[in-house]
């Protein structure tokens, strides 16, 4: 297992380097993202653009720039380690900005994850235990709505209802925990709900499908035949097997969300890294892309390891 983990970590490194290379190349290929022209202002004369390129080291060959970028990332830069560089547009170092925003995104992602697990899995279980009942039909209707209704639609609708009309919840914006737990919670509630809705619906469907399949297995029939209570049959035998794929999904979904829930952050004006990726520039987008890739690859690894513990048949060498 240790050897497996080390091997996978090395692959994470390779993946990140590849992602950096591809992203860096895109910036070179697409002229609209040339930071030198953007920074040179409204009248980017050739002399001005040349000066900008020289100032920011953009006049060096692609290979040199990429090498310097990778070097900074792993060895640190003027601002410390890891070397995340600076923002062209604000001329400030990126590390504190990204770390602050990552914390906001983490709050959003983890809170939404807890919510969608609390909603999606119980709904899926109850639906599976009472298939084709009214509850099952309503639950699957909810699931259909949840996966169909996009965040950019649901978010403004709920804001309109609960903030603008009913004044039950505060509006958009981020309220740090240290400034007040209740205000923080109230500000995060709608974003959590909106982000969790789609996932809850999906998890409900997945849980239901997995549990229905599991409950049809021979060993479940055996467990019942042995006289175990239905509760024990479902929770101890049925659920454990059916939720294993859910764990896999959870890891991947969380990993992806930690790369930035762009739409939710934009709709609710949460200063997370997804929102930052949309409005920022070259180095910032590069850094956030790498961070997103990092979380996804690490999430993959963690999920695979957890899977081995959940399913004794799985062994890694």
């Amino acid at each position: 297992m240790i050897r497996y983990i080390i091997r996978r970590l090395l692959w994470v490194l390779v993946t990140l380097l590849l992602v950096a290379l591809i992203t860096y190349t895109i910036f070179f290929v697409m002229p609209s993202t040339d930071p030198a022209v953007n920074f040179a202002g409204k009248q980017p004369t050739p002399e001005l653009v040349a000066r900008v390129r020289e100032l920011f080291g953009l006049d060096k060959p692609f290979v040199v720039q990429y090498g310097q970028f990778v070097g900074r990332l792993f060895l640190g830069d003027d601002y410390g380690w890891p070397g995340l560089g600076f923002s062209f547009s604000t001329r400030s170092e990126l590390k504190p900005v990204i770390l602050d925003r990552l914390w906001v995104t983490a709050q959003l992602a983890i809170g939404a994850a807890i919510l969608w697990l609390m909603i999606g899995i119980p709904i899926g279980i109850l639906s599976a235990l009472k298939p084709r009942s009214i509850f099952d039909r309503l639950a699957m209707g909810f699931a259909l709505f949840g996966v169909s209704a996009p965040v950019f639609f649901i978010g403004p609708v709920l804001l309109y209802i609960f903030w603008y009309k009913l004044q039950l919840l505060p509006g958009t914006g981020y309220y740090p925990i240290e400034d007040g737990l209740s205000q923080w919670y109230l500000h995060m509630l709608l974003p959590w709900c909106v982000l969790a809705l789609g996932f809850a619906a999906f998890y409900a469907r997945m849980s239901r499908a997995n549990l229905i399949e599991t409950m049809g297995e021979d060993y479940i029939r055996t467990a019942r035949a042995k006289g175990l209570s239905e509760r024990r049959v479902v929770l101890k035998h049925g659920l454990r097997a059916s939720l294993t794929p859910i764990v896999t999904m959870l890891g991947l979904d969380l990993g992806a969300l930690l790369g930035g829930a762009i739409i939710t952050e934009t709709v609710f004006n949460l200063p997370g890294i997804g929102q930052y990726a949309v409005q920022s520039d070259f180095y910032a987008i590069l850094d956030i892309t790498l961070i997103a890739a990092f979380f996804i690859t690490i999430a993959n690894l963690i999920v695979d390891i957890v899977y081995a513990f959940l399913d004794p048949r799985v062994r890694y060498t």
Partner: protein, 638 residues
């Protein structure tokens, strides 16, 4: 049991729908007073905080005044933070809002008879904010120019000074290096020596880059944009927390806490400001809060809800409709001249637009009234009939060389023009040459620009030009037409706003050869293109150039006309010179079809009891705004 649950669920849904759809119309908050009309005087309350939201600040040089090119930033600098030798009165255009007035200086300068020496005397009593706590001096003004001249500081509009002030060439190595053409014989006197008479030099001095900066702080930053988080004020307000900066050395400086480039910008009063030294600013409010909100519709809802006072930027279509149709909101919506021309640009070296008759025919056939209507009608501006917006060059405000009935285009006149073109072999007024097929038009990919596409297709098809439309994301559209090698024949994605209300600041890069480049070109029509530059930008550019010259003669050049106008002394003769150039461009060169002079639309909340338009920056005159909330900036910033 299940039936009861069904009924309960149904009732719950009904209740939710009723709550969402019912209730009163949105009621304005606060006192419900109608905001005062532009420039109205009387009992204007002081105090409170103007709370504004924006999608992002969008600064082009991280708020460093030496290079910052964003109009919003200029509005902050001029109204709140920086007192230049001259500035503006922060009023609408019809009240002199576009004319420089004395600010830090006692007057608008003493010009020598030969127009080459300009001397200013600084007012007494203009102080830097704490912790600097000292008078603003002529050396501070000179330092600003030394920064402009320093190569590493990337002065984005340094061209207005370099080559104009003796000794300035924008290639200086250090901001400590004095400039030969700027003398400061004492703390209150500054003398500029010019390379040539420059009729609009006062306008250039009114730009924020020319406002004084304190060397003890700005001198610590030698790269572009770095000073932006440490900007010190000589104006009525200062950035919140800036007075706590330790300015004892460069190493002790910390970014101002009241400015986070990604989140907010808070201003509070500068305790060292003396209102008696300032005739141009009224400074009613105690503070300003500029906060980022990425959800623009939410921001406008906040204005309607009374949570904030205004939003930076024009309202989206759905919100705009509310303001235009709800009588309760009539006074909350402002549409002012934006000093910006939106235009169709035609490439002088790409067929069929290399033929002047085709360019004139396009000017005659385009239905400008429909373009305006599809933009939003009169609130979005006026139909443009020439290059310069009226406030920039009043002399051409009623000049319309391609007048058509109801501004809707004149097909007969267009055909008559097209019939004279080499591309209409049978003289029927319709292009019959293959070059008129699949003509690439670059446009933006969102409204209202996408609304223009069918209008232009229909208009140009009537004279035989069939368009191949490419609707692109805004940055991509600009980059596409800025790359000479792309040889884009015609484009409608571009607009141009003034830097200052003098035609040089509007026309220069648009039509001067200085605006030509292989990449990043601004002179999209290629006016003045030479064979040397064409050959630098690629074989296809050179081939197109040679073909155009062979077919139509030399590419027209207006550099000398501009030079003659720039050196004309300020006044009627100066404007008349530019009006003549404008006419030459529109009638003898015809690079554009100007179609709209854009308005600046502003939606304000009821708590704004006085709102004034600042023509110079085409935005809110922050130094004349008043609100009736009782907030403090500390309340808002916490």
């Amino acid at each position: 049991m299940s039936k009861r649950y069904s009924i309960v669920a149904f009732v719950a849904v009904l209740a939710l729908v009723a709550a969402a759809c019912g209730g009163d119309e949105e009621t304005p908050s606060a006192t419900g007073e109608t905001p005062a009309a532009t420039g109205q005087t009387g009992e204007v309350p002081t105090g409170g905080v103007l709370r504004e939201e924006t999608v992002d600040f969008g600064f082009t040089n991280a708020f460093d005044p030496t290079g910052e090119y964003l109009g919003t930033a200029w509005s902050y600098y001029g109204n709140l933070l920086m007192r230049g030798l001259v500035s503006y009165p922060w009023l609408p255009g019809d009240q002199g809002g576009n004319e420089p007035v004395a600010d830090l200086a006692t007057d608008t300068g003493q010009l020598s008879a030969d127009g080459l020496t300009l001397t200013f005397t600084l007012k007494d009593g203009v102080m830097w904010q704490p912790p600097l706590d000292r008078p603003v001096t002529s050396q501070d003004v000179a330092w600003a120019f030394q920064r402009i001249n320093t190569e590493s500081l990337i002065a984005q509009y340094g061209n207005y000074y370099c080559g104009t002030i003796v000794g300035m060439d924008c290639s200086g190595k250090s901001q400590e290096d004095p400039i030969e053409g700027i003398e400061t014989p004492d703390d209150s006197t500054i003398v500029f020596q010019l390379e040539r008479p420059t009729g609009d030099f006062l306008f250039r001095l009114a730009q924020p880059a020319a406002a004084p900066v304190p060397p003890e702080v700005a001198g610590c930053f030698s790269e572009a944009g770095e000073y932006g988080r440490y900007v010190m004020s000589s104006g009525p307000y200062m950035l919140l927390g800036s007075d706590e900066m330790d300015v004892s050395s460069c190493n002790t400086l910390e970014p101002i806490s009241g400015y986070d480039p990604d989140r907010f910008m808070y201003y509070t009063r500068n305790p060292n400001y003396d209102q008696a030294t300032d005739d141009n600013r009224q400074n009613y409010v105690d503070g300003f809060a500029q906060v980022i909100n990425t959800n623009v519709e939410d921001s406008f809802n906040r204005v309607l809800n009374g949570d904030i006072d205004m939003v930076h930027g024009a309202p989206p279509a759905a919100i705009l409709q509310q303001y235009l149709t709800n009588p309760d909101l009539e006074d909350n919506f402002k549409a002012e001249q934006g000093d910006r021309t939106w235009y169709i640009t035609m490439n002088l070296i790409v067929p069929p637009f290399d033929d002047i008759h085709v360019r004139k025919a396009v000017n005659l056939v385009v239905d400008k009234a429909s373009l305006l209507q599809s933009t939003g009608g009169p609130t979005s501006g006026d139909v443009a009939t020439t290059i310069e917006p009226p406030a920039v060059l009043p002399d051409t405000a009623s000049y319309d060389p391609y007048a058509t009935p109801n501004l809707a285009g004149d097909l007969d006149a267009a055909k008559a023009e097209m019939a004279q073109s080499a591309y209409d072999s049978d003289g029927d007024g319709v292009c019959d040459d293959p070059v008129c097929q699949d003509v690439l038009l670059v446009n933006r990919n969102y409204e209202p620009w996408t609304n223009y596409t069918p209008i232009l297709q229909e208009n140009l098809s009537a004279i035989g030009i069939e368009l191949k439309i490419r609707e692109l994301e805004i940055d991509t559209a600009y980059t596409t037409i800025q790359t000479m090698n792309n040889l884009v024949p015609i484009a409608i994605n571009a607009g141009w706003g003034k830097d200052y209300a003098s035609p040089y600041g509007f026309d220069f890069f648009l039509f001067n050869t200085a605006g030509l480049a292989c990449e990043g070109l601004v002179n999209y029509a290629m006016v003045g293109l030479t064979e040397d530059l064409a050959s630098e930008c690629g074989d296809n550019v050179l081939d197109a150039y040679n073909a155009a010259v062979e077919a139509n003669g030399p590419i027209p050049n207006v550099d000398e006309d501009m030079e003659a106008c720039v050196t004309t002394p300020p006044g009627d003769a100066y404007n008349a010179c530019w009006a003549t150039l404008d006419q030459r461009l529109m009638e003898e060169i015809v690079p554009w079809v100007p179609y709209r002079w854009g308005s600046q639309n502003v939606a304000i909340g009821d708590s704004v009891v006085q709102w004034v338009y600042d023509q110079s920056a085409a935005w809110t005159a922050y130094s004349r705004v008043a609100v009736d909330n009782d907030l403090t900036i500390e309340d808002v910033a916490s």
